[in-house]
Subunit: 496 residues, 2 copies
């Protein structure tokens, strides 16, 4: 067992438990404490440091909640495998005072959540009381509403308000607050391997808005190539903009580039880190082929939608396609809908230099679509390290649900195949069942199970898919409900 | 002098000064205290009510700041002419609890400020320090950043946060929170004579976004008719959407309908309550002609942009065109950019039933572009009456600046004509000067005067306008700066 050498500064403003937490965290991230290593008991550490037992308990508790330590009943605390854990705070000490201060003068400037949208009738129904008869919310793209770090979020909000109180009333920068763009650029570089300057980032009110903006930057002409199944909101957004939609077959590695090459699309929309809804991850070789496709064709671009890559439960997150691109052919789109909250409506895209110039010329006059206060709230949340801690905390919670769900599904007769495990907030489950997908959905709804099938994600030949596939989301489904939820679902997939 | 009969309830939670304020305000709005009437002195009223002098001072102070009372030095307090004052709070007692509570499951759904936008070079320049060398900010569309009711705004924000803490994380309604839409519908009916159901309102992140959405609802085809000069952001937004732009000549009453009838436009974009930038008000007869134009032509619509009608300094605000429309041909667009703050990014549009159906079918899947927290903050601000009080307070401040500016400009040799007085946040001043508009702007910039000319609002024959016209905004120009600012401007318009 490692003798922890922690020097506490009792005159420091930071609480003692925070100093212990920070010290152990740095030892773990710095490799001085390695995976599986056992820590001294809280009692012993408290004695050594001459602090109260509760102080150490608080520090250990925090470390456990963020996935740095594992508490084994009756045995003690052990260092976790921290590959893929976020540690954003330290590098984030460049604060935004100066940029937050001045307002942008004289000019000023969605990801949908339920991945399916209701028919108008249903919409009206929810108009009044908003509530859906729901025992089990198994929709993908939902997030946990209990564990959210309200305290840290509100603290960041207060700081933001104090800092820009008066500037708040002046128009912000069309691309978004510079401070936020800098924080996002830094986060994307650390967490996603995205290489960009804050000047290349455009913050917008949700992915659909950013796609609308992109449509104006690229001009209306042309066709867009998408996988089938794909993310329906993106499909409908391009459709509404008058794009010709071209479905490209995909295999377990994602879009088939040789099929793409046969089309005349100038845009390819992909989700290489975690394809929606099947969760496939595009391997290195396929990524190179895709980049080559764009690079060999003047005016062709790849849209990389990196919607939920924050949550990966096995190994390290896969670096972004954008980071591999040396010729400015990838438009990277990301969102805070899953990592913070859907209703915040903050997304961002990284524009290659060439498109950035067009953006300035054609779209520079659009005011930002995100409130300055919300932007600064997010900026502070990231800079204070609250965001990184929140991601780690949620990752631990979601991993628990993911693992439980996977274990519950394995070996069931009605489960033919499970897609997209070990990442994201849902599993795609191909059913081994005599019923149609619609019928399963109908039965599920009757039992108060909110769940989505794969059909509405298919953009071609919806008919001839052999088996129904359910997208089982666990973002807003607590562990205690997962077990009963799966039993209830089992009732729906079997002949009465 | 009127003997004020005020019964105070000392057991009530509301502060005594608020009870006095509320009572006198209701007496004034109810006509029991009439214009010009003198109120008892603070000392006497304090004695009668057996409250401290400071309590009455607080109540009187509040009433003065909101424009109900006028304080004459050494003479006392007099009732103001309250025509056009807002009194929204009382009717607003329908609160939003029930609608706020439930989240919209399973699916979820700008006005630019400086009315001119910088060239990319300037944009970069401001990218780093954001600040502009500015002694006098005379840009139109700016608001006062000192007098904003931060307290009331933050209070509303806290209420919003507490009320929807957990729902906050769930997707909101695509059209915007029902509670907000109800409050806005109520406000629009009271203040602007707009007749609509909350179900017809779509809340969006700025006017430009709403126009983009409208473009998708209406389909890309067709031409849009605009006045020249007009609001440049709207012009460029339609242009970016691929609309054919048709300039329609205007006179002092606004767009010439017989000229419009000669075009083949299916959309007419107008600002009948206060045209930007000339501030003309469309009279009743012209409004009827315009409505007739749309009603006689299937598929033709009028977009009524009601951007800054909150501030009118003479007589009552002009009711909206939408309120006169009986056949669903007017799309009403409004914003909180001027009435609350530009950086909040909250606008709204009222869709006629026919377009609402298309919206649900084609665009119902778009998540709202405004953060739920911001929406609820605005909702609470309106419901608590803070918004109404803020409007009255700002109206008084802006009227003071407007009157002073008007008085300073009258009779100057270099002032040929003044357009758009008695409303809004700027005056359009036609110059009697040998210099070109560009030259005046260049000189102004060199003297640290931020000001806009009319040329960039012209969408046809920019050349042959005879004289330069300056748009002198006073929204963010305190009275003490107006005098010096006009002197500085005078230096720019005369030959050295």
């Amino acid at each position: 067992m490692n003798e922890l050498l922690i020097s506490l500064n009792r005159h420091k403003k930071t609480a003692l438990y925070e100093q212990i937490y920070e010290h152990i965290k740095q030892d773990i991230m710095g490799g001085r404490l390695s995976h599986g290593e056992r820590l001294p008991s809280a009692r012993i550490l408290a004695e050594n440091l001459q602090v109260s037992r509760s102080t150490v308990d608080a520090a250990y508790g925090q470390l456990v909640s963020e996935g740095y330590l594992l508490a084994k009943r009756g045995s003690g605390y052990y260092v976790c495998d921290v590959a893929g854990l976020y540690d954003l705070a330290p590098e984030m000490l460049v604060k935004t005072q100066e940029t937050v201060r001045g307002a942008y003068i004289p000019d000023s400037n969605s990801r949908c959540l339920g991945k399916n949208w209701p028919r108008p009738a249903e919409k009206r129904k929810t108009e009044e009381n908003g509530n859906w008869p729901c025992n089990y919310n198994m929709l993908p793209g939902q997030i946990d509403s209990e564990a959210f770090s309200y305290g840290a979020w509100r603290k960041a909000g207060k700081e933001a308000m104090l800092e820009i109180e008066h500037e708040l009333l002046l128009p912000g920068h069309p691309q978004g607050e510079y401070g936020l763009r800098r924080a996002v650029a830094h986060y994307l570089y650390q967490a996603r391997g995205v290489c960009c300057m804050p000047e290349q980032l455009v913050v917008g009110a949700g992915n659909e808005y950013l796609l609308l903006l992109l449509g104006q930057i690229l001009g209306h002409a042309g066709a867009v190539a998408m996988e089938s199944p794909t993310y329906p909101q993106a499909y409908h957004t391009f459709w509404n903009m008058g794009y010709e939609m071209q479905a490209v077959p995909m295999d377990a590695d994602g879009m088939l580039v040789q099929e793409l090459a046969r089309k005349d699309a100038s845009l390819a929309y992909v989700m290489p880190s975690h394809q929606f809804p099947l969760g496939s991850v595009m391997p290195f070789k396929r990524r190179l082929q895709l980049l080559a496709w764009a690079q060999e064709r003047p005016g062709c671009y790849i849209i990389e939608d990196d919607h939920d890559s924050e949550f990966r439960y096995k190994g390290k997150p896969i670096p972004s396609l954008q980071g591999m691109d040396r010729q400015g052919r990838v438009i990277y789109v990301g969102t805070f809908s899953n990592s913070i909250m859907p209703s915040i409506r903050v997304s961002y895209m990284v524009l290659p230099e060439e498109l950035l110039r067009i953006y300035h010329r054609k779209c520079g006059f659009y005011a930002s679509t995100v409130s300055r206060l919300i932007q600064m709230n997010v900026c502070k949340f990231i800079e204070d390290g609250g965001f990184g801690r929140h991601l780690n905390k949620m990752r631990r919670i979601y991993k628990g649900r993911h693992d439980l769900l996977l274990q519950l599904l394995k070996g069931r007769k009605w489960v033919r195949k499970i897609y997209g495990a070990h990442a994201g907030l849902h599993l795609a489950v191909e059913l081994n069942c005599p019923l149609s997908e619609q019928e399963v959905l109908r039965r599920a709804k009757a039992r108060g199970i909110m769940i989505q099938g794969i059909r509405e994600c298919l953009i071609v030949n919806k008919k001839n898919t052999l088996n129904p596939v359910m997208l089982i989301g666990f973002g807003n489904l607590p562990e205690e409900k997962i077990c009963a939820g799966i039993e209830a679902l089992e009732q729906c997939v079997q002949l009465a």
